[in-house]
Structures are given as C-alpha cells and as structure tokens.
Symmetry: C2
Subunit: 334 residues, 2 copies
C-alpha cells in the first residue's frame, strides 16, 4: 500500500474562495460573519472536484491513500482575526471530512487549525476536538508563524505550545509544520517562505530538546523535504554541536520526520542518502506548489513516487518510506 | 591558486565590538556618534588577530587567497539609523583594507554597505566609492533585508536597486547577497535567516529577468551553497516555468553564482552535480557559522576544500571552481 502523507485540497469549486471572500469582507466591514454552514458545496461538486483531479492522479500514479488537508496557502491565518480563523478552519476541515467520507478508503483527514497571531491556542484545541469527533482526523497542520512572515508567536520550543503538544499526544495525532501565504510581498510563499518555515521550525525544536523529553510521543513532520535542512545537514549538526549536550541526531530522530516533497530527483536522492530511512515519509504535495511537467525528466515535477522507485532502494526501505513509517507516525491511519 | 571567495573577519580584537557598543549607546542616548577614526586597533592587533587565525587556517588548508569582508552577523543594519550604519560600515571596511595591506597577496577586500531600513542607497553608493578609492575592493556584500527579517525594502528585482547595480557594473564589482543578524528572536540567524535570505533573494532575481537584461554584466553571488535552491532545484525550475518565458537556467546562469559553503559533504556533492560548474565558486565561510570538528568526517565542518578534492572532479572543473570562475566573476582580483 502506498500512502502519500502530504496532499492538499487545492482543486475545490469556486464557491469555497467566494465564501472566504464574503467572510473577510464582512469581517473588514464590521458586519456579522457568515455562518460556517452557509457554504454551498454539494456532494456532487466535491465528487467531481476531487474525483477528476486528486483521485484520478492517485490512480494514475499508484497511490492508494492520501492524507489530505485544506489548501495551505489559503489558510490565511494572518487575515481577519480569531473568529474569522475559527469559522474558516471549521469550513475547510468539514470539507475535508466530507471528501474522506465520499471516497471510502482513499483519504485520511488532516485538519488545519484556527490560528491567528496573538490569540493563543484555545480555539485550535477546540477545533481539534471538534474535527476528531466529526469522523476522526489522523493529524493536524500547525502553522509556526500565523503572522505570515514576521514570526510574532513564540518559537515551537517554547512552553506556549505545550497545551497543543499535550492534546496531540493524547489523541495520537502528529503535527505537520506548515505555514500559509506570505504576508510579505517580496517573499515568495511556496518558493521561499514555506522552505524557510520548515527550516526555522526544525531548528526551533532541535534547539529545545526538552520538548521531546516532556512529550516523548510527539511526532513532528517537516514537509518539503525538510526545507533546507537535509542539504545543509552538516551545518545543522555543527550548530547543535556548538550548543553542547545531545547531538542533532539524538535530539530529533524518533520525533521529527521529513517528507519527500523534493522536486529535483537528485535532491530527493540526497534526502534518502542523508537522513535515516525511518525518518522519511513518502509525499508528493499534490496538487501543490509545482504542477507542470519537468522538461528534464518528462514527468510531472511532483511525481516523487517514480523518483523513489528509480532509486532502487532495498525493498524494506521502500516499504518503510511509502507505507510503514506513515502507519507508525500516524497511528490513527490503522 | 586556490581562491576562497567567502571569508569574514570574525576574529577581531574586542575593541571592535566595544567601539560598536559605544556607538549604538551614543545613538540611543541622542549623543554625538563617535568618530570612525576613533577605533583603537593597531597594526599589531590586526596582524595577531588575522595571522593566528585566518592566515594560519588558510596555510593549513592550502588556500592561497581569501576574499574577506566584515563580520556579517555584526553588520546589524537593523540597529541604529542611517548615520550609525554609515560610520560603522566605514570602520569595518577600513579594517578590511588594512588587513589586505598587512598581508600582501593573501586577501582581497569585499565591502559591507551602510544599509539601513527605509533610508535608500545613497550612502551605500558613496561608501563603495570611498572604499574603491581606498586601495580598492573586489566586491561588496548587499543585504537584501536590512530590517533583519521583516523584508521592508523592495525585492531585488525592483528598480529601487538599479542605482546600485549601475555602480557595481561601472566598477566591475560583483555583489554577494548576505543578510546580517536576525531581528526576530525565534528565527536563528546562521541556521535559518541566512539560508532564507539566499533563497528569497535568488527567487526575487529569477522572477525579474529584466534585471539581467538591463545589467548584463551584473554578477550576483548567492552564498551558503545557494540556501535551499540547489536541493530544491526542480521546485524552482517548476515555479519559474509556471511564470512563462525563459527557463530558470536561461534567466540566471551567467549572472548568478553559488558558493560551496555546504557543510554536509553529500550536500556539496549534490551542488556540484546539479549546478553547472561555471556557476560555482569555492568558499568556506571561514571563520563563520560553524567552527567545530565534524565527528562524521573527523575534519572541520568548514573544510569544504577537502570535500571538493574528494569529489574527483575533472581537473578543469576543479580549477574552474577553485580559481578560474573567481577570476572571471571578480575581475578586480587580477
């Protein structure tokens, strides 16, 4: 079984963005926010939007199951306020639940959180409970910088995040760290801010090993192949070594995982050579940041499964990366 | 001849940081700033500070010449104001000039610029002229984000930077894009902000190919192995392809170069395999972000020359990376 742990629902009907526009306009005008149940997306709309895109692509590529979450770049935690984010997360997560139910066996739901700069995590904890009760989620996306680039919240190594880590451990849910759109015009979201956030979040956690002592069952997934981390693995090993105490490997392995969303085949090969197999999870981020055909390979940029197959890994390593690690990091898949 | 194009003067006597402290304190108190000539560092101080560190290390490793610039993390463009930065750049650049003169044939001077958020580039242009007249510089470090993480200035693709590009082309000076300390406590400077800035600056330029049409002789060096770019080369190829027009390779090669400051040997091997030899410049960033001994290799993390030698490159490729490309990108070396 091939499990893709990083998919987003990015091919939805226009009504989703229309609803969000109405919501943000109402918030900006000081009017009552639209009710989260007022979004007009039918089951047929969802079947068509997902069946003709995500499911068709999965079938074509031999991906059995995708862990799907709301469109990351549209989480927009820096827009509106706590109430806007609360309702928008509920809308988006409910759509994900429905997709899971409409395509039995093909999807597991991963929730976005209703984060907003400066408002704390109470609404996020409540939304996890709500989504968990609503048919179940297998993980969440945690935004380490809901300000969209200004890093106004405490780093992930700070106690601020402990109630969230506690909730996630209680429910056996891993967290993928994933920012949303860039609020800074000169910083490209998918090309720069995403990778920066992956790198920064990784280093925040590696620099605060107490987190994984206090929460030994906490699982953190760093997407996009770990940002800049595996390429510069020696830089990070050296920076952590200079801090004294446990090595980088001792600090993070077992708790921190990288996905395989590296669209340069040689880069993906580097990831698999440099990071232990047990810390790598197959993913393609479909449909994500890069959707075209790579003229070098003649295949889609995000066809990472084909690249992985071409690496001629020992069978058990391939199975670990594409299936077994996912089942262990995301126990609720089972 | 082996030329290291990325060295910083990070082993200076305490008086340098003391002078800076006095300067920032005076600025904060609204008092007159200390005169740039008031710094008390003798030739003997400099000979000792550089001879026992940088030069000793160069001799040990077989590096003939280093392009040296002021300590990047202490440029502190987000501290003080335009006048503070003007004087501090003059102090730091003058020290670099003196080091070059004290060790004939071992160093070329690279200047920092007196940038400051919101003040424009006039002082930077003036400082380039001053440093150029004072014995010559072979390049400059340009900070794409003098705010220290908030990216308050226009992106490098904007016309805002044109007077600087014009000056650099006139004087045959390449620019290394290099930020300073992080003004955001949760964002690690050398582990996250540096790599983010490299990646962001690269994408700003790749997304604005007009810059290199308007300034065909402009040379930009992206340090730290290009940030996250070569690892995710396919991601960047795909993002640029989606913009239409010229390919990423057509847009940047010939104008944009990556240095070899990648402290994971397999990462450095990836760089050399992925990016054309003509676009790679040998560098170690000594003494820089990572100073310890790598327990995996038993060598210093920043001993990139040994790693390069171990790659068994064709002789002409090794010579291009370690010498010939530097002479072509930095014509004033000759």
């Amino acid at each position: 079984m091939i499990i893709d742990i990083h998919g987003h629902f990015t091919t939805g009907p226009a009504e989703i963005e229309d609803w969000r526009r109405r919501q943000l306009a109402a918030g900006a005008a000081g009017e009552a926010l639209p009710d989260p149940t007022s979004i007009a997306v039918s089951d047929d709309d969802l079947r068509e939007a997902v069946g003709s895109n995500q499911v068709a692509r999965m079938d074509e590529r031999g991906i059995d199951v995708t862990l799907i979450s709301p469109r990351a770049s549209r989480m927009g935690h820096h827009l509106g306020d706590g109430a806007t984010s609360r309702d928008w997360a509920r809308v988006c997560n409910h759509l994900i639940s429905r997709i899971r139910d409409l395509f039995p066996g093909r999807f597991h739901a991963v929730a976005m959180l209703p984060q907003s700069p400066g408002v704390g995590l109470d609404e996020s904890l409540a939304e996890i409970d709500r989504a968990h009760a609503e048919g179940g989620i297998v993980g969440v996306n945690v935004n380490p910088d809901p300000s969209g680039g200004h890093w106004t919240e405490p780093g992930l190594g700070e106690k601020y995040w402990y109630p969230l880590w506690e909730k996630l451990c209680d429910l056996q849910l891993p967290a993928m760290v994933h920012v949303s759109a860039s609020a800074i015009p000169s910083v490209h979201a998918e090309g720069a801010f995403y990778l920066h956030a992956d790198t920064t979040a990784f280093l925040q956690l590696a620099s605060a090993p107490q987190v994984f002592t206090d929460f030994p069952d906490l699982k953190i997934v760093v997407p996009h192949g770990g940002g800049a981390v595996p390429y510069h693995w020696g830089r990070f090993r050296g920076l952590i070594q200079a801090q004294g105490g446990a090595s980088l490997e001792e600090r993070v392995f077992g708790n921190v995982f990288f996905d395989t969303c590296v669209y340069e085949p040689a880069g993906l090969a580097h990831l698999v050579r440099t990071i232990p197999t047990s810390s790598i999870l197959f993913a393609s981020e479909t449909f994500g940041a890069v959707r075209g055909i790579d003229p070098v390979t003649g295949r889609a940029f995000d066809e990472t499964l084909t690249v992985l197959r071409g690496l001629d890994l020992p069978e058990e390593d391939f199975a670990a990366i594409t299936e077994l690690n996912a089942k262990s990091v995301y126990p609720r898949i089972a």
